[in-house]
Symmetry: C2
Subunit: 227 residues, 2 copies
DNA sequence: CGGCATCCGTCATGATACTG
DNA sequence: CAGTATCATGACGGATGCCG
């Protein structure tokens, strides 16, 4: 509800009337990588309290930005919150915020929390299709991310792939440095911050790693969107 | 100050740490069209109180998003607040919000306030360069906006041009309908909501009006930015 | 335990008055 | 004109309780 609307004849303020409150765009950011249950959302957003999450979910549902639907059988939760078409359309806003924050935002601190979903968003913005079709598994803090490289459309979901071609493992900070280019990819390998494990087919890991770097342009500066 | 930082290892949250608070992005939006004084900002943002504006300006200055500089002689105010390079770089975020709000935001209400600066932002996002080089004056509620069409770079400032080729006058609501395509441009002319006056050179107004419509693609849907 | 609702303390915000 | 000071209110952070 726009109980505290700006009441301006301007679409920027109308957008902020719906998504301008605290935590709202961060909830949308996490849902951009796929539908989530209530507890998963809460766990992924440290500092957000349960009462406020309930209110945000209710308001966002009323605004038509997300919808609550029954979870498929076998899920650990009962209901999933998923973005509607209008919610997915918030992607460019999240993307523009990510670009600006990366360039002009405050530097991250070691105590900052890191969520694997946020990695997906970053990767999706850098993806270059039509490379070799590797399946890469990212491991971080007992969680896994499954990436399908080389496909026309970027695919990445949480979980372990059946037949990975390469397994990359690192701690959150190393992933952050890799994705934010504060460190060159090669030096992360040399320092041991990032470890490579051959996949099930047993291919040598280094060429696949180079394709991974190239697929997400991790050795180049991020593109700046136009106005 | 990020006194209430999200503390997440994510550039989206880092951006919101600086510009996520209430009113902040609306201040930036207004400054995107040019530097403004304190009182002009306050007047253009109904509902924002003077103490909060002072705090926002202080915080944004500390964050390096805008800078306070002495006003040029002849100005009505003493100091101007101008966006820094980092502040101008927020443009794509404002643009993405404008696109989304236009498509998915709540409908405007007749009591909403309208600021001529917001028109400039909308026009800038739709501009197609290299048409005929007309100078068009927009009149609305005792204020004037000066647009230079056809130049490679879009130019628009508040004030009255010396030699307009066409003067368009309408009330705020008609401008909004024109810019937001809820009504076709032709019908706004026919209904008398928009009035055309020949400029100093005395050219017939209708062809220049059609160039104006074409220059800002006001008869076409807005382009949707990519993720 | 997942999915909230309630209660309370604190802080950000809104309204008004006042000052250099 | 360009803010600062003061106070009231509502939003938010934290803990806990309820209900399937």
């Amino acid at each position: 509800m726009g109980s505290r609307s700006y009441r301006q004849f301007c679409s920027v303020s109308k957008a902020l009337d719906l998504v301008g409150e605290r935590w709202t765009l961060l909830i949308v950011r996490d849902l951009l990588a796929g539908a989530m249950g209530y507890s998963a959302l809460l766990e992924g957003l440290p500092g957000l309290t349960t009462n406020l999450l309930a209110k945000r979910l209710k308001d966002l549902t009323a605004a038509g930005i997300l919808e609550k639907r029954p979870a498929p059988t076998g899920e650990t939760c009962k209901a999933l919150y998923a973005l509607t078409e209008a919610g997915v359309a918030l992607g460019p806003i999240i993307g523009a915020l990510a670009s600006w924050g990366k360039e002009h935002g405050p530097a991250p601190e070691p105590t900052d929390s890191l969520n694997f979903r946020w990695v997906l968003i970053l990767l999706g913005r850098h993806f270059v299709p039509d490379g070799p079709r590797w399946i890469v598994q990212l491991d971080c803090a007992a969680k896994s991310l499954q990436l399908r490289l080389g496909t026309p459309k970027f695919e990445g979901v949480e979980g372990t792939p059946m037949t990975p071609d390469l397994i990359i493992s690192a701690d959150p900070k190393a992933y952050y440095e890799l994705l934010f280019e504060s460190t060159a990819p090669e030096s992360l390998l040399e320092s041991g911050a990032v470890k490579l494990t051959p996949g099930t087919a047993g291919d040598p890991p280094l060429p696949i790693w180079k394709d991974f770097i190239r697929s997400f342009q991790l050795d180049q500066p991020a593109p700046t969107p136009s106005t």
